[in-house]
């Protein structure tokens, strides 16, 4: 994308790249200074809280996907498998095991060792992953347990007795986490710093919702698969920071400008698609091109929902009651992230009309059973709710051994031919 005279279009991608480089430079410096980091995950990172203790923040999921995007994941996977890990477990975990075995060596710099880890139950592998660090580094791991929906639509409403009990459980644990952070960091908790980080998180979360809504416009102003993944990196890595808030303010301005001026993310938008699952990082660019080649653009994705930690929900922290509000926010957002993996069919059906979606692409992956196990059934459920074409393709987010590019292309091509035939049908009938 070429920047226009206004200097707005295209700046989001450049700014994200700079932020990412600065983040990893900071991590490398922390590793060299032997400063311990807080290891966290995208669903329930609570970085708003952890930043109060000046921990460098490490997202091992992001580190791992970077090895795949940079085409070196197989080296890391092999090393972890030689250590004893099965080919049938999460590739993210294995890449990180190799990073740890290499004393933090990573294609983007050096990752500091963990001083503590915070693992929510949004993904069970988070907890098993944390146990690996416990063994390797002997540092404390904190499991932040967040009760999710008890079934499809069985979710405690804010203000209800059940919600308050759940919030109290989360709040209690956050208090325990604060005590742990004080002990590990040697710094006292400062509620005003928390308030400051929550304020930035509010800005980012509000922008995230608006950003997704921007893609209702035709043509779509960003590709939820490729651009969206970049935005997700900033949303997670800079959550609760002034830089993150500024980035999303600027990005939103850019996307609104594009929407107002009819500037799309692809040259000639033909098909508006929804993406369900996790991208194929070993062939990230070519995977996106399977669709953009046909003029297909992903206007929304469940990845934007769950991988942002549930930032798509309408929630703002109450800065007058920071701790209580943090507990409520963590409960609501992480729960929403889980719902967007396990109970997403109604939300997908509701998205079709406002986003003008022509087809839905389901992409389950070997590595992540949290996201992938229910997708075949979700597809059936969506088909029952709406008459919408869909494509079901499987590969992986890390392991190129289970990525069959030719097969993926065949399936994608057939899907678009089907879409074209479907679009032509009314004309033929006339």
């Amino acid at each position: 994308m070429t920047a226009t005279a206004s200097g707005i279009v295209g700046r989001g991608g450049e700014a994200a790249g700079q932020l990412f480089r600065s983040w990893f430079d900071g991590l490398t410096a922390a590793a060299e200074e032997k400063r311990g980091a807080a290891y966290v995950f995208v669903m329930g990172s609570v970085t708003e809280l952890l930043r109060c203790f000046d921990f460098p923040i490490v997202f091992p999921e992001i580190n791992s996907l970077q090895t795949a995007v940079r085409h070196v994941a197989h080296e890391y996977l092999n090393e972890a498998e030689n250590y004893g890990y099965s080919p049938d477990i999460c590739g993210y975990v294995k890449a990180d095991v190799a990073v740890q075995l290499r004393r933090g060596a990573h294609p983007m710099g050096r990752i500091p060792k963990p001083a503590l880890a915070v693992c929510t139950n949004a993904c069970n592998t988070y907890i098993k992953w944390g146990e690996i660090w416990e063994r390797m580094h002997g540092m404390p791991m904190f499991t932040l347990d967040i009760p999710g929906s008890r079934g499809a639509g069985v979710t405690s409403a804010p203000g209800s007795e059940d919600f308050e009990r759940e919030r109290a459980y989360v709040a209690g644990q956050l208090g325990e986490l604060i005590t742990l952070c004080e002990r590990v960091s040697g710094r006292a908790f400062d509620i005003d710093r928390l308030r400051e980080h929550l304020g930035h998180a509010n800005t980012m979360q509000a922008a995230w919702r608006e950003l997704i809504d921007c893609n209702r416009s035709r043509p779509a102003v960003f590709n939820a698969l490729s651009d969206g993944t970049i935005y997700l990196g900033v949303a997670n890595g800079f959550r609760g920071t002034a830089e993150g808030a500024a980035f999303f303010r600027d990005l939103l301005e850019e996307l609104c400008y594009k929407a107002a001026n009819g500037i799309g993310t692809v040259t000639k938008e033909q098909w508006r698609l929804a993406f369900v699952g996790v991208p194929c990082y070993p062939i990230f660019r070519r995977f996106a091109e399977l669709f953009t080649h046909w003029g297909g653009v992903f206007v929304n994705s469940t990845y934007l929902w769950f991988a942002s930690g549930g930032s798509h929900v309408d929630f703002q922290y109450d800065l007058e009651r920071p701790l209580e509000s943090l507990a409520a926010g963590v409960l609501r957002t992480v729960r929403a992230a889980m719902d967007s993996m396990f109970f997403q069919a109604p939300s997908l059906a509701e998205m079709i009309d406002p986003f003008g979606i022509d087809g839905v692409v389901f992409h389950p992956i070997k590595s992540c059973r949290t996201v992938s196990t229910g997708l075949a059934d979700t597809r059936r459920a969506l088909m029952a709710l709406r008459d919408i074409p869909s494509l079901f393709i499987e590969s992986d987010l890390m392991d190129r051994r289970v990525v069959s590019e030719a097969q993926l292309k065949n399936r994608a091509d057939a899907f678009f031919e089907g879409l074209a035939a479907r679009r032509a049908q009314p004309a033929l009938a006339r």
Binding site: Y83, G84, Y85, S86, D88, I89, C90, V93, N121, C123, N124, T125, I127, K128, G130, E131, I132, E134, R135, M141, F142, T143, L144, D145, P147, G148, S149, R150, G151, A152, V154, D162, R165, E166, A168, Y169, G172, Q173, E176, M341, F342, F343, A345, P364, K366, C368, R369, T370, S372, T373, G374, L375, A376, D377, T378, R380, A381, E394
Partner: protein, 392 residues
């Protein structure tokens, strides 16, 4: 709702001789049609299906419902297969197959997010079955000072769902009574495992497994009666004592190894302890029956429970629990199993093998699937392993 138990659901177990009794029990455990559940329903009873690993069955029992342990079955997932993607363990598919094929009809299904795959079950199940499907969020931070209070509330929430299914309230008195029934069951199961540790030649791993598994498909009073009759027979069973290698078996916490695999292991080794169906033995001591039985159950879960790969508890590091089990049982070696595609099980193998390597404890590793049928190769490998222990 009154309990529809007017006669035994499994009267066939009454037979002459412990071998015949065990044979009949085995037949029932291996029957993928779960006839005792059908009989219960024919008598007007309602059924709560609960997926692995642990479920507070006392709450369902107190409502007059039959708690049925959903732990897969050795069958082809003809209908369930199309509801899942690839790279999944077998138990998820075979469990859903039981529901879709109506081999087992439930009135409520409850699952706990034990792993990334299983946590999808409530969604999938709920989209395909007409009855309520719920997730029970057992605390995954049992080290929090708030875990017991949370779980007590969670059990009360579950009770409300159970009451709706049963059409009757669950009183504290009824729950205390149910806890008493299950305490008796826990004591009998502890006795069975004590016998295996002390005199393992009297009851093999597959025989013990069958006796435990029946708990998941019979009213617990009936299971208590069965165990009360069988245990004395086993304790004085006239069998020739053979010196075999004493081993522990790990890896049976969720998907269950085929009985023939256990039998093959039993031919070579004395399995003196295991984690097979550990959820049915999760609470390791009697639950005190106090004023608040919901809290008593919650407290027992957090403070008095076994361990498994799917629970993280700072007080139960996996390495230490493995070593303690070995030492407690006087085992010389370990058999480490993992179900194919079982992520927690496969991850645990790394911990276990490295721990045992570090201590110089011999071990045998194998993956399995619940519907595998050929064990010849595995048995030869196992015999070689045992011979190495005995003669090298």
């Amino acid at each position: 709702m009154s309990r529809p138990l007017t006669a035994e659901l499994f009267p066939q177990w009454h037979a002459d001789g412990v071998d015949e009794i065990l044979a009949r029990c085995r037949e029932l455990v291996e029957d993928p049609d779960f006839p005792t559940v059908k009989r219960w329903r024919e008598r007007g009873g309602r059924v709560v299906g609960h997926f692995q690993v642990y479920f507070p069955e006392e709450i369902a029992h107190a409502a007059g419902l039959l708690p049925f342990k959903v732990r897969g079955a050795p069958l082809e997932p003809a209908q369930a297969d199309s509801h899942f993607g690839s790279y999944l363990c077998s138990i998820l598919k075979s469990s859903l197959e039981l529901a879709l094929s109506k081999r087992v009809e439930l009135d409520l299904f409850v699952t706990h997010p034990i792993c990334d795959a299983a946590r999808n079950l409530a969604g999938v199940w709920g989209r395909n079955c007409g009855y309520p499907c719920r997730i029970l969020y057992l605390p995954q931070n049992p080290n929090s000072a708030f875990a017991v209070d949370y779980l007590r509330d969670e059990y009360q929430r579950l009770t409300r769902v159970v009451e709706e299914v049963a059409g009757a309230p669950v009183t504290a008195e009824a729950l205390r009574g149910s806890i008493g029934v299950f305490n008796a069951n826990r004591a009998l199961l502890r006795r069975l495992y004590a016998l295996r540790r002390a005199e393992p030649w009297r009851v093999s791993v597959d025989e013990a497994y069958v006796l435990v598994a029946l708990a998941g498909m019979l009213p617990r009073e009936e299971h208590n009666a069965l165990l009360s009759a069988v245990l004395p027979l086993l304790e004085r069973r006239a069998v020739h004592r053979r010196d075999k290698v004493r081993v522990i078996l790990e890896g049976g916490f969720c998907e269950q190894p085929p009985l023939d695999l256990l039998r093959a292991i039993g031919r070579s080794c004395d399995v003196v302890d295991d984690d097979l169906l550990v959820g049915l033995r999760w609470l390791v001591a009697d639950v005190p029956v106090g004023d608040d039985p919901w809290r008593a159950l919650a407290h027992a879960y957090v403070e008095g429970s076994a361990h498994s790969p799917v629970q993280h508890d700072l007080r139960k590091p996996k390495e230490r629990m493995l070593v303690e089990r070995l030492e407690r049982c006087g085992a010389e070696a370990a058999i480490l199993l993992a179900a194919k595609m079982c992520e927690p099980g496969l991850e645990e193998l790394v911990v276990h093998t490295r721990t045992l390597d570090g201590r110089g404890v011999p071990y045998f590793v194998s993956e399995f699937e619940e519907n595998m049928t050929s064990f010849d190769g595995l048995e030869i490998q196992l015999e070689t392993f045992v011979e190495n222990l005995l003669f090298v």
